[in-house]
Symmetry: C2
Subunit: 420 residues, 2 copies
Amino acid sequence: MNPQVLAVARAARAASRQLAAIEPLRRDQALQAMAAAIEGAHQPILEANALDIAAAVSAGRSAALVDRLRLDANRLRSLAASVREIAELPDPLGAAEWQPARADGLQIGRIRAPLGVIAMIYEARPNVTIDAAALCLKSGNAAILRGGSEAVHSNRALIAVVGQALAAVGLPAAAVSALPSTDRSELLDLLKLDSDVDLVIPRGGEGLIRFVAEHSRIPVIRHYKGVCHLYVAASAEHDTAVRLLIDGKTSRPGVCNALETLLVDAAVAADFLPLAAAAMRARGVELRACAQSIGWLPGALPATPEDWDAEYLDLVLAVRIVDGLDAALAHIAAHGSLHTEVIATREEAQATRFMREVDASAVMWNASSRFNDGGALGLGAEIGISTTKIHAYGPMGLESLTTRKWLVRGQGNLRHPIPG
Amino acid sequence: MNPQVLAVARAARAASRQLAAIEPLRRDQALQAMAAAIEGAHQPILEANALDIAAAVSAGRSAALVDRLRLDANRLRSLAASVREIAELPDPLGAAEWQPARADGLQIGRIRAPLGVIAMIYEARPNVTIDAAALCLKSGNAAILRGGSEAVHSNRALIAVVGQALAAVGLPAAAVSALPSTDRSELLDLLKLDSDVDLVIPRGGEGLIRFVAEHSRIPVIRHYKGVCHLYVAASAEHDTAVRLLIDGKTSRPGVCNALETLLVDAAVAADFLPLAAAAMRARGVELRACAQSIGWLPGALPATPEDWDAEYLDLVLAVRIVDGLDAALAHIAAHGSLHTEVIATREEAQATRFMREVDASAVMWNASSRFNDGGALGLGAEIGISTTKIHAYGPMGLESLTTRKWLVRGQGNLRHPIPG
């Protein structure tokens, strides 16, 4: 165990107790100070970011990675604005909720409390540093941030800015801290500290998430990939289904709530597939089709078994004909990723079965897969989309960074009367 | 990977999909059939249990273990009755809850769904086999049960009885299954199967729970020990505080919500400690006292640092004088186990601070620690008391075996309008 890692975790634990005890107003003041500090520190942040960009470019990293890494004045302004928006959200802890008193005078209540210490493990995007710090602070949690090595200078500069804001409002620097370095051995040590850290949230590629899940003794909320399906039922309105396909596949193909596979009921394949093919062709989408559908899809490639499990994150769509709702459900059970599933149908009974039986964090009926998102579902802010079914399933808002404890208020009430 | 373990998990996954799809009435029928099957199979169950008892006795196991292992006609009758009570509880899945439609016609709702497959890892008590099977079935989950090697014959007989009940109502045997053996290697294989198993609940000693938490890739809800404190504040009513101490320490010392440490405010130590000492002496409780308190506690032993972290589960109490509420909070932060904490005070402001700042699944004000229990808090049934803060904190009722998924119902609603 690296003693510096242990010291970071212990200091975060101590800071978490202070954060849980203060008034919500002071947490909001810290967030306002954080936004102001970001606005006042464009120069040092952008200088640090330039070092990361230069290192990534000279290491020949992809243009996509360099773009994820890059900060500029606009991105910093929007980061500060998002921190202010978080400050203005309602307090996720709120007041105790009491049940009516029982006959014996006992009152039972529950109150939301911060989880305590949350470790965020992420990759190249330095804006996660600020988002995670702000969401954890708003909910009364201390944060331990472990970004990717590509963003090490940017993250160090951003955490220094957060530290200034915390100091300005008299909160401990350990409320938001980083591991001493991005060495994997430090991460492994952190993941052992289950009495000092309450939750680990890994955000990034599947490899990172599996690594964290495999090595952590601390509870982990995972967000694996999104292999999202649109099932076009026999009674679907074809125009609606085509529009759901276009929005789901092409409005932002690189995100996890984008569609990856189209399942078409055999009864309407001959009518629907040509419409789908035309809409996809017009938008440059490559098709990977099953043997039964390929004849209706000019230019499509034959799908291989790997296509049914692929998260393309690109303008590629797998297409399969299925024989009714049960076959669609079986395909999704075998290949779905617990993320988002869509049915296009005019039959309520079918939609009800689909919504009940599909195992996914969000199930859409005649609505786009792209609505599975904290903002679209009204959560106000989002720290990720969980495909772990415990604690939070789907978009994680501020409430998912809290727990509920029981309160019991009595007048000396006992479980067992004392004889004599 | 043992192929038999994988087969058990895959079959449980398939069964879980059937359980999630059926009407609640059929799950209740399965529970009624289970209760009847237990009542009709006293003889084979007790014969199997006798083999386990004989093995434990001849291996020189403790009388306490042999007692936990033992089934008799009364215990079987009460097991069957508890299964019937679970059948009669309300359906924990319930109906979808819809928000009012948005301006764009989109309706957003949430519905409770089973977690899927739950693995219960436990030790000697064979009644856990039936309790866990019944709670998982009621909530629409498939269960994989892995009891202790001491109870292997009893558990096999009980699972056979459950299997008869499932067959009688046409549900798959894999809805409730066991690992092929109690080999630790099979448990380790099971704990790797994070796509087939949704949650692991270990119940038993701290060693078992730590072993599971360390090796599992599947989310784990833990229940470590209960080191519960009673803090007697300066303004406490002494008679109330003594009664809370008696109930908390002596009504059932072997359970996790029993008191282990008494913290007494320095301002009232001279008055309160003699009362506490007399009440404890009269009930045969051994005291382990800090240097400041020992003078008021005739016969007490000096406490060592280990006493502050001890879960005695016995008629032993640690006693410490603390200098005000902050010192009490600091002691509990350092030595508490996130289980149950109690304050005796007449001052509401003090109680409010204690309830907010103490990190514990239940915080009691002038009420006994023994109320932290699923039955006492109105949950109807309990599968354990979680000291993990995510998903469930405190007593876990049926609801904690479910998740909530999002439902979105539209009329072809899209995130981004399609141009043209």
